[in-house]
Each structure stands twice: as structure tokens, then as C-alpha cells.
């Protein structure tokens, strides 16, 4: 059998446990996995509505840390409701309640990023989301975090149907870090780390999060097994041939890598356990 593997799989961390996975619509991603994008202007967002889709006094805050790493020393500039603008990043401002959810228009806090300007000064951006008031945990509210393409808009809602990447937040937690953006390589890095902090967002708490998640956004796929290597080993063991071109191809496996890894997740987990 001849098999062709996509190069993107090199940045996809092999899923080992269901518990570790981050589930977005029809995609399953392991923390540390990287998704490339082409846009120069993107929008990081946290969007929410109440469980019954009506307006409610639920306050969720979005913050981001702009990170410059120099000889192992971190420098971080926060972007949050108390520091709305810095270089190529602009926060939409604090929204302390949400409107009724209709026609995919959803209350959102967002941070507009100009990658070209930011990459001169920083390496990474890590985003965090925290429930400030109105809900006990992410189970109490419908909440989405993600990335959209596009330029600055003055509205306090976004269209939830358009996104480059989106994940739903659930669980008995008040605090979450969904993604990091690698500014140099233009990649979304999946973090998806929950924590039980409930003291709101301060520079200290943001820095603590950046510190504890740095192993993930700093090339986790180099230290953790990636799908590409794993499948190569698998094919070698099974005696399958790996080809670089489409000629004589029998199986074009993982053509759209993210989706197909999701589709074959059970099989992969079965092999490993």
C-alpha cells in the first residue's frame, strides 16, 4: 500500500487521552498543536450568551499577554480592559453584560491584532478568558473563544459563524487560556488550559498563566510525538510505502489533516492504549 502524508501533520501533537483534547466543531486538537494562517490582521475574541440565549448580566473578560522572550527572560505587556492599546494590538473595551443571541450575532470582547507591527516587538501572544461575574463557571454560560480574520470594528458584537478557529469553553472552571499566537511563524497554538482562579485578571495572574503554559506554546510538537513521525513509524512497522507525489497513490490519507485525525481518533487511541 502507498500512502502520502501531509507536511502539516508535523505540527500536530498525537492525541493520547480524551482528557487532553480540545474539541472545536468537528475538529479535535491536542494542546501544543499549531494551525497556520495567512491573514495579517486578525481578531482574538471571547464571545458569550446566556444558556437561554436571552440578555443577562454576565461579565466575561478577555486579556492577552504580548510576550518577548530574551535569553530565557520573559517580558510581558498586558492587553486588557485596563490597558486597551499597545502597538499593533487594540482591545475592544470591557462589556459587563450580554445581549440576546440572534442571527449568529453574539456579544464579544475582542483584541484586534496587526501581525506585521507586532512581530517586530514580540514573539508570542497568549490569551486568557475569565468569568468576572454573573456565572459560576463555564457550564453556566455559552462561551466561545477563537480567532477571526478582519480589521477593526466598533461594534460590541461579532458574527459567530465566521472564524479561523473557534472553541467552546465548558466545565466547572472560571478561568481559561485558549490559544497562543506565534507571531513569527503566523500560527495559532492550541493551549486550552483551564484553571480555578477566581480573582479576576491582574498582571500577576496573567504572567503566572504565561509562565505555566510556556512549555506548550514553545514548540511542544518538538518534544511531544507528532502525527507525521508517528504515522511514518506505523507505516514502517506495517510495511506500507510512503510516497511524496500523487502518482500510484492508493490512499491519500489525512488530506485535511485536522479533520481526519479527528475521524481516526478512536483508532489512534486504540493503538496507544
Amino acid at each position: 500500500m502507498r500512502i502520502k502524508l501531509k507536511n502539516e501533520l508535523k505540527k500536530f501533537v498525537v492525541p493520547t487521552e480524551i482528557r487532553n483534547l480540545s474539541i472545536t466543531k468537528d475538529r479535535i486538537l491536542t494542546p501544543g498543536t499549531r494551525i497556520p494562517f495567512n491573514e495579517n490582521k486578525i481578531k482574538l475574541f471571547i464571545a458569550w450568551h446566556s444558556n437561554n440565549k436571552q440578555e443577562a448580566d454576565i461579565d466575561i473578560d478577555l486579556s492577552a499577554g504580548l510576550i518577548k522572550e530574551n535569553d530565557g527572560i520573559f517580558k510581558m505587556e498586558p492587553i486588557s480592559f485596563y490597558n486597551l492599546e499597545s502597538g499593533g494590538a487594540q482591545h475592544s473595551g470591557d462589556f459587563t453584560s450580554c445581549i440576546a443571541f440572534t442571527d449568529n450575532l453574539i456579544t464579544a470582547e475582542y483584541i484586534d491584532l496587526d501581525i506585521e507591527i507586532l512581530k517586530e516587538k514580540y514573539n508570542y501572544i497568549v490569551i486568557t478568558e475569565m468569568i468576572y461575574s454573573g456565572a459560576e463557571d463555564f457550564n453556566d454560560v455559552k462561551c466561545y473563544a477563537g480567532v477571526q480574520s478582519g480589521t477593526k470594528t466598533p461594534e460590541e458584537t461579532i458574527d459567530l459563524s465566521k472564524y479561523l478557529f473557534k472553541m467552546e469553553l465548558t466545565g466547572e472552571f472560571q478561568s481559561h487560556s485558549s490559544i497562543a499566537i506565534d507571531l513569527k511563524t503566523k500560527e495559532i497554538v492550541i493551549l486550552d488550559q483551564y484553571s480555578k482562579e477566581n480573582y479576576g485578571i491582574t498582571i500577576n495572574s496573567l504572567a503566572r498563566k504565561v509562565q505555566s503554559h510556556k512549555d506548550l506554546f514553545y514548540n511542544a510538537y518538538l518534544r511531544k510525538e507528532n502525527m507525521y513521525n508517528f504515522l511514518i513509524m506505523y507505516c514502517e512497522a506495517k510495511g506500507y510505502e510512503i510516497v511524496e507525489t500523487d502518482e500510484d497513490l492508493v490512499v491519500g490519507f489525512l488530506e485535511d489533516c485536522e479533520f481526519d485525525v479527528s475521524k481516526n481518533l478512536t483508532k489512534i487511541l486504540d493503538i496507544l492504549t
Binding site: T170, F253, L265, K267
Partner: protein, 417 residues
């Protein structure tokens, strides 16, 4: 279903989709037919499922039975009192035809599944093991992973174990949900009891003591009396003979085991068939635990002995591989390689460790962080050197081992062709 009444009533019953409702009704009917053919567990569960299906609570079910009783007084009284009738009919003697008559028409049937007691028990445990952190319905919508119907069951199980979803502490809580006649079968046949600590919990459970938190130190101050029946004693001895005994686990609860030994008298003639390995360990009374021994070898830098010692626990060996390779000489590496070839590892851990060794063979480790209970801080120690050629040798051994496992694994490309 074997969960107690309250739990059964907790199931949701409204299915908005008309087609699905019809499908479920058909499913129930086929199940009823099957149940009549095979006189096994089906009837019992089916009744519960049916009660649940129409949103009929147990009181209503009793009222319905009562109505039925009034209508067919003569028929029912022949078999005994009404109270007994409910008791027996609920589980054993109720005919399926009667049940359908009892049942209000035009209701939404919903059956979660039909399984044997052990399958059901294992399913509950599997549900508890599901990611609570995510608790994400979208995960379950991936049909290949788990049937959506189980989601509701998961919600119930989650609700009833809201104190904490840890399986080990809750095994007997789960088992106590089953009928007392089934409990023994479950314990002896379901493979839930895997370690000596589980057996100790079982002893606490059968003697009506609190099995969730085992006291480790002050037991002698507040001695627990384990009043054990002979049949239970035999069960305990059988369980202890069937599991592999870990010395550390035994020593952790040494005082309890002495107390058990006192009541159990394992060396008596009637238990001559069974293994007394655990009590032999108590007799020897070794002073050092497994990890104390390995720490000792590390201190004295006796790598060969450390490798041999850690080989008893393959996971421990893999986890301390970086340390061993760093501190080993070339001769020790050969010993390590030979051990790796012989031991059986978990595929997942093997894959993760292989990647790590591959990375460390060519990279030094600059940032060393420790995570005591979630807090992170760096040490001021020097960066760790790369593992170099020693790492390469082990990486190849691990890769070959992994290849062996992958060769026997299921074909993931099967559906793609």
C-alpha cells in the same frame, strides 16, 4: 437497569424528534421480544427502562399496578399479597404482555441499553472516567467514540457522585447501587478489584465501615473490628490469590492488614488452597519501600541495580530514563537496552518517552521547572547536558519496541481504501 429508583427517575424522557421516537419504540418492542426468548437479565432492566421511558415515576408505576391489581384481583391474589406482588413483579415474574397493558399509550419510549450486570457496572465506571473537565457534549457527538444516549446516563452518574468522581474511592459506592444479590458477583467477576488496597476497601465495605478514606496511621488507637463471615473470608482469600501483590501497597496499610490477619487467620487449614503472599510480606516486614530503595540506589549511583530494581515497574523505569541515561556508563546502557527488550510497556508511554529521548539526545535541557501542586518555579541549577550517543542507543531500542507493538496494532487505513 440496576441503579436505584431515584436514579432511574432522573433520566430525561422527551425526544423532540418524531422519527427517533418511533425508532425507539420499535427498539423497545424488539427488546421485549428478545427478553421473552432469553430469560436473562433483560426483563428487569427493560421494566426500569419502560418506567423511565414514559416519564412514569415509581409511585405512578405502583398506582398503575394497583389499578391492574383491582382489575385482576383474582389473578394476582393467587400469587401472594399485593406488596409481594409488586416486589416480585418489579423484577422477576412480571410478564411482558402485562407490562405493555400497564403502560400508558402514546408515550416516548427510551431505552439506554441492555446489558448484563457486569457490563453495566463497567459502563458506569467508564462513564466516570470520561473527561469531566471538558464535560463537552460535542465530544460525544462524535458518534464513533460514544453513543449519544450514554450522555444522559453520564449526567446521572455525575450527579449522584458529585462529591468527587474518583473511581477508586467510589467502587463500592457504585457496587452498593446494585442489588445485594448481585454485589458479590460484581466484586468477584468484574475486574474492579485490582490491587490489595481495593481488597482492603472491600473488607471495610463488607464490615460496614467507611471505605472511602482509609486511615493509615491512627488505626491502633481506634481499632476497627472486622467481623467477617467464613464465606466472606473465602472471598477475600480468593481475591488476594487472583491479584498481583505490590509490596508498597501492603506496607502503606500495614496496620490494617495486621488487623485483618487477626480476624482472618489466613494460615489456617481451611485456606490452604489460597496464596498467602500478602501475609508473608507482613511476616517479613521489610523496612524499605520500592521508592526508598530506588532513591538509595540513586544516591549510591548504582545504575545496574537501579535498572534491575525499576524493571519491576516498567512505567517507573521509563519515567526515570533520562536520569538513568545521564548517569550511566556505556556498560550500564547495554544492561538497560537488554531490559527494555524484555519488558512489556504501555504503548502510549513508550511513544512519549521515545520522543523525549530522541529530543534529549541532541538537545540540552535549559529550563528545569518543577510543579509542586500547580505552582511553578525554576531552579538555579545548571542546564542538563544532551544525552548524545547513549541516548541514541536507547532511542533505537525504544523505537524497535514501539514498532513491534505497532505491527500488531489495528489497521488505521482500513476504512480509507
Amino acid at each position: 437497569m440496576i441503579l436505584n429508583d431515584k436514579l432511574i427517575l432522573g433520566l430525561s424522557t422527551d425526544i423532540p424528534n418524531e422519527n427517533r421516537r418511533v425508532k425507539n419504540i420499535k427498539k423497545v418492542i424488539t427488546l421485549i421480544k428478545d427478553a421473552e426468548k432469553s430469560k436473562c437479565y433483560l426483563t428487569k432492566k427493560l421494566i426500569s427502562a419502560l418506567i423511565n421511558a414514559g416519564g412514569v415515576d415509581f409511585d405512578m408505576y405502583n398506582t398503575l399496578l394497583q389499578q391492574k391489581f383491582k382489575e385482576n384481583r383474582s389473578e394476582l391474589t393467587q400469587r401472594g399479597t399485593f406488596k409481594n406482588q409488586i416486589k416480585t413483579s418489579r423484577y422477576n415474574n412480571l410478564k411482558v404482555d402485562n407490562l405493555l397493558e400497564l403502560y400508558p399509550k402514546n408515550t416516548n419510549f427510551r431505552v439506554i441499553d441492555v446489558m448484563t450486570t457486569i457490563e453495566y457496572h463497567n459502563k458506569i465506571i467508564a462513564l466516570i472516567n470520561l473527561p469531566i473537565v471538558f464535560g463537552n457534549k460535542e465530544l460525544l457527538e462524535i458518534r464513533s467514540m460514544l453513543d449519544m444516549d450514554y450522555w444522559e446516563l453520564f449526567e446521572i452518574v455525575k450527579y449522584s457522585f458529585n462529591e468527587g468522581m474518583k473511581v477508586k474511592e467510589n467502587i463500592f459506592k457504585i457496587i452498593s447501587l446494585f442489588e445485594s444479590s448481585e454485589q458479590r458477583t460484581l466484586i468477584m467477576e468484574s475486574n474492579t478489584i485490582k490491587t490489595t488496597t481495593d481488597v482492603l476497601r472491600y473488607i471495610y465495605f463488607v464490615t460496614d465501615n467507611d471505605y472511602t478514606e482509609l486511615p493509615s496511621k491512627d488505626i491502633m488507637e481506634y481499632p476497627i473490628k472486622f467481623k467477617l463471615r467464613t464465606s466472606t473470608k473465602k472471598d477475600i482469600m480468593l481475591l488476594l490469590s487472583n491479584i498481583s501483590i505490590n509490596e508498597d501497597d501492603v506496607l502503606k496499610y500495614k496496620k490494617q492488614w495486621f488487623r485483618v490477619q487477626y480476624n482472618l487467620s489466613p494460615y489456617s487449614e481451611k485456606f490452604s488452597k489460597f496464596s498467602t503472599e500478602l501475609f508473608d510480606i507482613l511476616k517479613k516486614n521489610p523496612k524499605k519501600t520500592f521508592s526508598q530503595k530506588s532513591e538509595n540506589y540513586k544516591k549510591k549511583n548504582k545504575m545496574k541495580k537501579l535498572i534491575k530494581h525499576l524493571s519491576k515497574k516498567p512505567g517507573e523505569l521509563l519515567r526515570s530514563l533520562d536520569y538513568i541515561i545521564r548517569n550511566s556508563k556505556k556498560k550500564d546502557i547495554q544492561v538497560l537496552k537488554e531490559h527494555i527488550e524484555e519488558i512489556n510497556f504501555s504503548t502510549k508511554l513508550l511513544m512519549q518517552v521515545r520522543k523525549w529521548v530522541e529530543y534529549r539526545s541532541s538537545n540540552s535541557l535549559e529550563t528545569r521547572t518543577f510543579k509542586p501542586k500547580g505552582k511553578v518555579f525554576s531552579t538555579n541549577e545548571k542546564p542538563l547536558d544532551k544525552l548524545g550517543s547513549k541516548g541514541d542507543v536507547i532511542e533505537i531500542a525504544l523505537r524497535n519496541k514501539l514498532r513491534e507493538y505497532l505491527k500488531d496494532a489495528e489497521d488505521i487505513f482500513k476504512d480509507e481504501i
